[in-house]
Amino acid sequence: MIEPAVMVRGFRKRYGNLVAVDGISFEANPGEVFGLLGPNGAGKTTTLECLEGIRFPDAGSLRVMGIDPTRDGRRLRDALGVQLQASGLPGDMLVEEAMRFFCAYHRTEPRPDLIERLGLGEKKRTAFRKLSTGQQRRLALALAVAHKPKVVILDEPTAGLDVATRAELHTLVAELRQQGTTILLATHDMAEAEKLADRVAILLRGVIVALGTPRELTAAGAGLTKISIHTEAEPDLTALPLPEVAQAAQVDGYTVYFSRSPGETVVALLHEVERRGDKLIDLRVERPSLEERFLQLTSQGPALSEAEGEAA
């Protein structure tokens, strides 16, 4: 049996009267990208900070590569690399100094290649305070992985990054996964989580409300498929009597249906458009995205939520 790289069991954390995390459990396996999703205040950062050894849990047990973060900080530092959501370095520290500084404390050779790869080659003699937000986050990422840790925590890694750097980061994450590194990814970017994560846990008010692969989570709704249509003559087709439709709505010039049987619905829909002498401009059939599932779970997507509720 494979020992999990990260193990969280019955973890609780309170701040005064506020219960930030209420008894959550999950595991991340070696070489797995595990996404932690949730709205602000859901408990993601608290969970990560306890795994990082910055905070202490009130109850439950946490392990990173078998190491208890509350007891063995020194071993934890070698096993874990962290890109904090709000990471700071001394303002006068140069980029290349930061790399040498942290590698010295990790007792490893500096990795100037990472500086180059993350687009900071021309900034290596620049002070941290003079870097843009995106450049600071890239440096934090380079420092997090420079000592080749077994587990990497990325807290909102692509916030403030441009498209090219975001793509480079995704490639880097894929490479780390291939090398067997476990990655805990906390993000608000659902597309990123869907693309990178092998499994995700959705946290809401301190508890895990969904856990599984992105595909499993999206399928775990009411199993509705989203069908969007735009025709030349008729902007609103919501009143059409179509089979297996749980709900229809008008969204940005498209009529959107949530169907329990997309094949039947699409055939009937096209037949109806032809019968009316209308002309099809665009037709899209999509499975619900992780974002829609997330919004549903966090009660911010009433349309889909209600439609699934009716279907259920």
Binding site: G16, R77, L84, G88, E97, F101, A104, Y105
Partner: protein, 269 residues
């Protein structure tokens, strides 16, 4: 190069790179030294007798009491300590390395002042140079400890300024730098004894100049050494990784314990 050595080198360079630290480590002490040397010696020729220790101690106060606490607080507020912690930088290094480099800068400035004042402004050279430097080293550690303690207990940068000025301004007025302890009103002398600058001046005057002092010079030196140990110990104990931690070890008022060694010298007066 070991991590500690690299850390020390980085912090030492920061003391020169950072304009605020450069100002407090060198520009302010040297500017004050030149101004006092050029003007005060003309107005009050007797000032030449104390200018070497007074301005050397002033340089130490500027670096340690004014310069050291703010970067400690700013780094904590900016999340630098959190980054350090997750990358294995020990708490002791976070606190001790900036304190040591500040002490190093302070001693460089103090030494330059002590060596040049007799040549440039006719300041009275000490009879015992090693005793002068010995006391300055202990004074730098005592003041560095207080600076580190202020950096640890201050909730924010504004509080840092307040705490620093609570020591710096009285040191200038009643700390034996401008007015000898013996010339202060009797009711003020015990308050003056609570200041490291007073103890430093008493120790230097007794040990390096062979003068009579109100506080026995070895007692003053012991107070400085004890103050350094107490303040660094308390700073380490009260150190907090970040301001968001709801619970912290000890109460900031515990910092007052660092003044016990200075208060004890009142008994010897």
């Amino acid at each position: 190069m070991s991590a500690f050595a690299y850390h020390f080198g980085f912090e030492f360079k920061t003391g020169l790179r950072n304009p605020n630290l450069l100002l407090l480590n060198y520009l302010f002490p040297f500017g004050f030294y030149v101004a006092m040397g050029a003007v005060m010696t003309q107005i009050n020729p007797g000032f030449t007798d104390v200018m070497v220790p007074a301005l050397a101690v002033f340089a130490i106060l500027a670096s340690t009491i004014l310069g050291l606490p703010s970067p400690l607080v700013e780094d904590r507020e900016a999340g630098v300590y959190r980054s350090f912690k997750i990358n294995g930088v020990p708490a002791l290094s976070i606190l001790i390395v900036p304190a040591l480099t500040t002490i190093f800068h302070a001693l460089i400035a103090a030494t330059l002042i002590a060596v040049t004042a007799p040549l440039l402004f006719g300041g009275r050279a000490p009879d015992n140079w090693p005793a002068l430097f010995g006391v300055l080293v202990v004074t730098a550690f005592a003041c560095g400890g207080i600076g580190a303690l202020f950096g640890v207990i201050s909730a924010n940068s504004r509080a840092t300024v307040l705490w620093s000025q609570l020591v710096f301004l009285p040191s200038m007025l009643i700390g034996g730098l401008m007015i000898p302890l013996s010339m202060l009103p009797p009711g003020v002398q015990p308050l003056s004894a609570l200041l490291p600058s007073t103890q430093a001046m008493q120790a230097i005057q007794g040990l390096a100049y062979g003068q009579e002092t109100l506080i026995p010079p070895l007692a003053a030196l012991a107070a400085l050494a004890g103050g350094a140990l107490f303040s660094f110990g308390l700073a380490t104990y009260l150190f907090n990784w970040d301001t968001r931690n709801a619970s912290r070890r000890g109460h900031p008022a515990m910092a007052l314990l660092a003044w016990i060694p200075y208060a004890l010298t009142m008994l010897a007066m």
